[in-house]
Symmetry: C2
Amino acid sequence: MCLPCCGLSRPERELANRLAFSRSRLRRGEHLYRIGDSFNSLYAVRNGFFKSVTPLDNGREQVTGFSMPGEVLGLDGIGPERHAFNCIALEDSEVCAIPFGGLQSLAFEIPSLQRHFYKMMSREITRGHGVMLQLGSMNAEERLAMFLLNLSRRFAARGYSESEFNLRMTREEIGSYLSLTLETVSRTFSKLQDERLICVQQKLIRILNKAGLEGVMGRQGN
Amino acid sequence: MCLPCCGLSRPERELANRLAFSRSRLRRGEHLYRIGDSFNSLYAVRNGFFKSVTPLDNGREQVTGFSMPGEVLGLDGIGPERHAFNCIALEDSEVCAIPFGGLQSLAFEIPSLQRHFYKMMSREITRGHGVMLQLGSMNAEERLAMFLLNLSRRFAARGYSESEFNLRMTREEIGSYLSLTLETVSRTFSKLQDERLICVQQKLIRILNKAGLEGVMGRQGN
DNA sequence: CGTTGCGTTGAATAAGGTCAAATAGAGTGG
DNA sequence: CCACTCTATTTGACCTTATTCAACGCAACG
């Protein structure tokens, strides 16, 4: 079941089965959707990895987020009825499209689904504000520690290892997301490795000292 | 009428009148709501000025936004049903409380109201991502230019002068919002003044060259 | 007046960006 | 299997920018 159904009770789930989900596959580099595309569906990531990207006023692009299996994509389109980001597969991936029209009619019958939506959207708000706001007050080491711990937590929540994982994105994409140059990202990985907090082998990251990493974040501005 | 009713047609507005709005006054420094307060209402700012503040992990606080008359406060609470920010009056202010329960029942009868909500929440998402994301790639001058232009646009939209206005917040609060130190904010105001783009007299700001200010933002990372 | 909060300015410092070069892998074709 | 190429990554040297620390100015208010 690929719907984010954690907010639903059993009979509601059966109702939800009325929705026709369609899967689709994407190759690495393909767009799931583009800015301005009309918004029809939410997408549950079944496998693979995605980045969301937005163009900046100055013509450059900024990565706004990464999405892994089990997570929902496309919430940015709900209000404006057009997508606000470009969403691109970082590797060959598969998603499950959830038609929003049907979902919305369902929501009229199922108040808890309505609430569930508000929750998801609201989490988006908080995530955006929360994560992004913090960035400003954090130095490079803190940003990277936060990034890794966030990934780790999400991997764990989806049943993957929390201490060892492959980054699917380049240093440049990480830098764009964290507002750092790729050189600083690289240097900071090395620094965290020197401190024996992580082990870096190309894209493979091993977290050696989780508490230590959390300490990096905690000691900010103290 | 203090409801954000721009999305409603006439009969819907009449329906909306069934909602009981209650006004309340706040003194400078008083909390409109605090983090963790149960979420009951949205608030339309009638007059005055507010800041939203969130505590950071390290114990310090960060200003996440400013709100002026005509704007809606409290959207952060919808999903979690508890407020996610502290909201504090920057001067003696008056708000209009819109009970959310009633609003939600209304939304069941009025699909356009439902959509309107999605829109407002979604705008919150976009605003958060949009503004905050940009910060990372902007230097102090660009940040301040953006801040002033944003304020100017919002003042204009509410019927105030777009070229001359009083800042209700301190340099420190601006700095917190933009992730700069208060000294850098001050220096940068001076710099913009030296460039004849603005005129600063304590809290009174006059925008002398709007195009120039926009140019400051535009030339980022060119 | 003296105090207090807020704002401005200067000098020294630290952090990250920029530019440049070296290295390492992954994939390709011979 | 090897050379070749392309891209990603790492590292170094230098420079720009914002922060830090400190001093001073100013206005409001008791």
